[in-house]
Symmetry: D2
Subunit: 137 residues, 4 copies
Amino acid sequence: MSTPFPTPSCWLAHRVSYGETDAMGVVYYANYLHLFERGRGELIRGLGFSYATVEERGIFLPVREANCRYLAPARYDEIIHIHTGLAAQSRASLSFVYEITNADQSAILTRGSTQHAVVNATGKPVRVPEWLQALFG
Amino acid sequence: MSTPFPTPSCWLAHRVSYGETDAMGVVYYANYLHLFERGRGELIRGLGFSYATVEERGIFLPVREANCRYLAPARYDEIIHIHTGLAAQSRASLSFVYEITNADQSAILTRGSTQHAVVNATGKPVRVPEWLQALFG
Amino acid sequence: MSTPFPTPSCWLAHRVSYGETDAMGVVYYANYLHLFERGRGELIRGLGFSYATVEERGIFLPVREANCRYLAPARYDEIIHIHTGLAAQSRASLSFVYEITNADQSAILTRGSTQHAVVNATGKPVRVPEWLQALFG
Amino acid sequence: MSTPFPTPSCWLAHRVSYGETDAMGVVYYANYLHLFERGRGELIRGLGFSYATVEERGIFLPVREANCRYLAPARYDEIIHIHTGLAAQSRASLSFVYEITNADQSAILTRGSTQHAVVNATGKPVRVPEWLQALFG
């Protein structure tokens, strides 16, 4: 937590559903990647766009790498908070970082990151278009 | 829509994530059962309780039957609305009905229902406890 | 079980993963619809085709209705068996029925059915093509 | 691929279902963590045990960290292969590595790793029990 969280960033609240838990009684580890996706969707949306619009313009951001550290579990019915930031932007890729906290944001439950390629509809890598660069400032 | 929607009832908004879609570009059919679960969780919560508390009191409501009719698809990034109502309550079971609508609630996308047993921690059917009956009025 | 299971039919074995369970320690109810999909995929495949090929030919079979009765739970690591049959075929729809059994097939855990429209790539209902009719004979 | 894959290791075939795909037409990135879990379950099982038995003995292996690199997509109906190896074993943790290949194992689609704590039923870290150490040789 010594390094400042990158900006632009956003928070998104999420209620843990029963279907997200597993037999250990906690959120199954793969489901945090779903939450990261919700987080970065919210971040893009908050910048005035939607990832749906990105795709309509023929640009796709498939995940090339994902990492997650599980520090503490989340349980059914808890409100958790997804903190998402744009970590880096290069010519052909974007990176996001994530922290998921408990209800009162006093504890970090998971930390993660994703790296995304920027490709066209045929899956070919392309430069980050100017409108997308501008979006992230 | 000619029959009135049962009460108590509630509405819950839900943003469609990418992970909920499938290769047809629409929400995968199984995921509506996740949404129904979110809906009935919200209904119980709105009555002053949480299903987590129900389980803490030793009562579980496993699904015995689920039905869903798919009228129109939902797509990534759409806000959809989950309308949930308590349909029936007998000595040993509870039933909920659901309607999921599009963003402006002008069209019903799916309709469904679930029927639940009322069991104790060992899975044995029990009568609906008074405090649970009272909850649903 | 008094009515004979419809033909053509097939069996598919499935190992329950941890990610399919929920906090009750059993397979989450929505996941059975995933298993039904695996079952009907296997049925179509066994008839000499794959649903992937069906889509390549411009025909899609979106689910219009799904029903499931939960008779007994399945747990982590269990081998369960998905029995799928073609229940009915009309000009513009197909129906499948399903039974999921425990490891030694001595008990039925869930029973279900799905009804599918037959549509083209734009989502418009079309007649079941002859090659698809022939498939199900 | 220059470093040899660690042993003990195992292979597990998996058919991609429709429910595992997303609107890009490929397996959704979070689902690979489900596949990794299937892989390590198979590895433990192949050593003469099941993770279910591990839990029955009061030992749990919650994931502390997961990493995944996505090299090429997997599509509906494809058979893919999950290669799992035990990467490291310390006093209080276990690590697995994974490679998922296409049908003929000519291309690696994803590479990943998971690190697990060894805890008792109350979630307290414990030493890897001897019988678990012996399992992994």
